[in-house]
């Protein structure tokens, strides 16, 4: 991003919890420096100034769940040179994609007294299901260090370097004892992308897939191992159908597991 003018940055939100945008504000030591290095043109949570596109970089949080948001992501794409999804919702459909496996009308009726007031799509989908995404930062929430790496890389004009290997690698580096092997605890770390620093295993609990599928995972093999270790099928299914459950690799593994048992 050479040139004299500062890169124009925009931060958008779709269906989500705000947590990934908050990770930008959680860069307390770097925030003011970032604000000095780029023009933050659009970031509703942080500032009232709203500048129209085109933008050099758009960060998009949240999944697409309404007709209106389908239009919004198309508009964001048109206005942005580079579109980066931040977090499990934008990159994989998020926890709210659990609706995709159920009847949304029934969901709406169970929560809202007047379902006719509610306009929502039957599925919660990642941004990439609608427009081209240039880069995805995974995680529920994203790691602020990864966000900083991506922003820094863009500012100096190199490719961002994020891990594509599994949580297992982080576990080994930390010297954690493998919970699955040593204690028979269900863990989907072997197929989940690193980035959290093997947080949950450090808390004596199995990974539940916040960062989504790693590059070329082998979920079928893991499912077999979990079965052999005596993990109930329902528990494995819930782990796969979690925060990134709509990601292709996790979804197809869950479908296969469900069919295999019929």
């Amino acid at each position: 991003m050479a040139g004299d003018a500062k890169p124009r940055l925009a931060v958008f939100k779709l269906a989500s919890c705000d947590g990934c945008q908050l990770q930008m504000l959680n860069l307390e030591d770097e925030l003011l420096e970032i604000a000095g290095a780029v023009d933050i043109c659009y970031f509703l949570e942080a500032r009232s100034q709203v500048l129209d596109g085109p933008y050099d970089v758009a960060l998009v949080e949240g999944s697409v769940t309404t007709e209106h948001d389908v239009e919004r992501v198309r508009d964001i794409r048109r206005k942005s040179k580079m579109l980066i999804t931040i977090g499990a919702c934008a990159s994989a459909g998020g926890i709210q994609a659990l609706r995709n496996m159920h009847n949304v009308d029934e969901y709406t009726r169970s929560i809202y007294a007047n379902p006719s007031y509610i306009h929502t799509l039957s599925q919660s989908t990642p941004v990439a299901a609608h427009v081209t995404v240039d880069f995805a930062i995974n995680g529920c929430p994203i790691s602020k260090e990864q966000l900083l790496e991506v922003l820094t890389a863009l500012l100096i004009g190199r490719a961002p370097q994020l891990p594509t290997y599994s949580v297992c690698v982080e576990c080994k580096r930390k010297g954690n004892v493998c919970l699955l092997v040593a204690r028979g605890i269900a863990c989907i770390g072997p197929i989940t992308q690193a980035g959290c620093g093997a947080l949950c295993p450090g808390f004596n609990r199995g990974c539940f897939g916040c960062y989504g599928p790693m590059e070329s995972p082998n979920p079928d093999s893991l499912c077999q191992t979990l079965t052999v270790r005596g993990i109930p099928r329902a528990e494995t299914l819930r782990l796969l159908n979690g925060f990134t459950g709509w990601a292709e690799e996790f979804r197809s593994a869950a479908e296969k597991l469900e069919k295999a048992s019929i």
């Binding site: 307390e28 659990l98 169970s110 528990e235």
Partner: protein
């Protein structure tokens, strides 16, 4: 902003410096305010539906995702509701650690709102970024306070957004005593910075505004309420948590994907959050916070919503004081989590989220699978009260330009620190004049 056929319409696409997205619509006819409403268009996420069929072991991880700013609140209300169903009560060590974790969340959330979201209003500025250009030390103090709150959350929960340590019965793993003591120095700084914060917000020119609020909050005989207590109000209400749904009713209105709560008895609005909490619990503030409240120049109980920023600052002092006290007394709870036997049951709980009362109820089966879930977030309880406040504000400022009216309305709503993401499990302003 557009004007057509004598009907004056003002549209502000989205309210800013609030958490989540939504709008505001104001209708004026013949110079009189006809209608005002908050348009909550943030997409519904339907947590209560997809919680069904999930294991109680997963519930605190799932409910955390309702809100990135107050995930601990959702974890606390949900695990305690399930513990109520299972009739287990974690011991004082676990309860103290939960209060510490909650203190961290209040600290980062309040610091974020005071310094990054609301302070710019008092300087006529559009953001903390602009404010930092003029008063860098002020904004840096706010960021550092936020960082200390986050550090407390990270030490106990592994990370500040969606921490991973909380489970039904207690914690998956508890921090070592020396890890907690290592935070002491930063918390001592934070206590001083919080006292400075009270002085700073007390010096701000708060607009005059008087409303008649029914304040609602938890109350506890021995402590400032967070995780325990019963529900009281300034109108004399005093009920156990299990009566929440009889006393407060959720209404579904056409312009909102968030439900609106009212008092069931007379359909009236009520106020939850820091101002309501201090009004009802002034005597339970720890000493430094109590003194700061008294020296703030605010006469408590206070019914000026703009004093919300002062209430939040006083609570910031409270969280630092409480954290230091709890850390000094901290001993690693053993076991970190209370064992339990799963059975079919139903239970509810309410805790004080940074933005106010947060109620959860769950019915589970004998396999520990959720059958029904009910979640009433603080912002949904405040929407009706926000609209009532706007109804009081707007008639007095109708001579102003549309842009000025929108700005005043946004400022007023910002007092509530609304979290729209929470309430839809959002703000866009429109004024229609004819």
């Amino acid at each position: 902003m557009t004007a057509t056929n004598g009907t004056r319409t003002i549209r502000l696409e989205s309210m800013t410096r609030v958490e989540g997205e939504g709008g505001l619509r104001i209708e004026v006819r013949d110079g009189r305010l006809q209608d005002v409403r908050l348009d909550i268009y943030e997409p519904p996420r339907m947590f209560e539906a997809f919680l069904r069929g999930r294991s109680i072991r997963e519930v605190p991880d799932i409910t955390a995702r309702i809100c990135g700013i107050c995930p601990v609140a959702y974890q606390m209300s949900s695990v305690q509701a399930i513990e109520a169903a299972l009739e287990i009560t974690p011991g004082p060590g676990i309860q103290a650690l939960r209060r510490l974790l909650y203190c961290g969340e209040w600290m980062q959330s309040h610091a974020l709102h005071i310094y990054l979201l609301q302070a710019p209003d008092f300087f006529g500025m559009e953001s903390a970024v602009e404010l930092a250009g003029k008063q860098p030390d002020l904004v840096r103090r706010g960021l550092e306070l936020k960082k200390v709150g986050n550090a407390l959350m990270e030490t106990i929960g592994g990370r500040s957004v969606h921490p991973v340590s909380v489970c039904v019965g207690g914690f998956w793993k508890v921090p070592r005593r020396n890890e907690m003591l290592a935070l002491r120095g930063r918390l001592e700084w934070a206590l001083k910075a919080s006292l400075e914060t009270v002085k700073f917000v007390s010096s701000l020119p708060l607009p005059e505004f008087k409303a008649n609020y029914e304040c609602v909050a938890l109350s506890h005989p021995r402590e400032y309420p967070m995780n325990a207590g019963h529900i009281v109000s300034s109108a004399g209400l005093d009920i156990p948590l299990k009566e929440f749904e009889q006393v407060f009713l959720e209404m579904h209105v056409a312009h909102s994907t968030a439900l609106h709560s009212v008092r069931a008895e007379h359909g009236s609005s009520y106020l939850v959050g820091p101002l309501a909490r201090i009004n009802l619990n002034l005597n339970h503030l720890p000493p430094a916070a109590r003194q700061a409240a008294e020296e703030s120049g605010i006469a408590w109980p206070c019914s000026n919503p703009y004093a919300g920023i002062v209430a939040r600052a006083v609570e910031l002092v409270m969280t630092c004081e409480e954290s230091l006290r709890l850390i000094d007394a901290y001993e690693e709870p053993e076991p970190p989590s209370l064992p339990y036997t799963v059975r079919a049951a139903e239970g509810c709980a309410a805790t004080e989220a940074p933005r106010g009362l947060l109620y959860h109820r769950y019915r589970i089966n004998d396999q520990g699978i959720v059958q029904t879930a009910r979640i009433v977030p603080p912002t949904a309880q405040n929407y009706r009260r926000m609209e009532d406040d706007l109804r009081l504000l707007i008639p007095g400022i109708l001579e102003q330009t549309d842009a000025e009216i929108v700005d005043e309305c946004e400022r007023l709503v910002r007092n509530y620190d609304p979290c729209i993401s929470c309430s839809t499990h959002a703000l866009r302003a429109r004024i229609v004049r004819s």
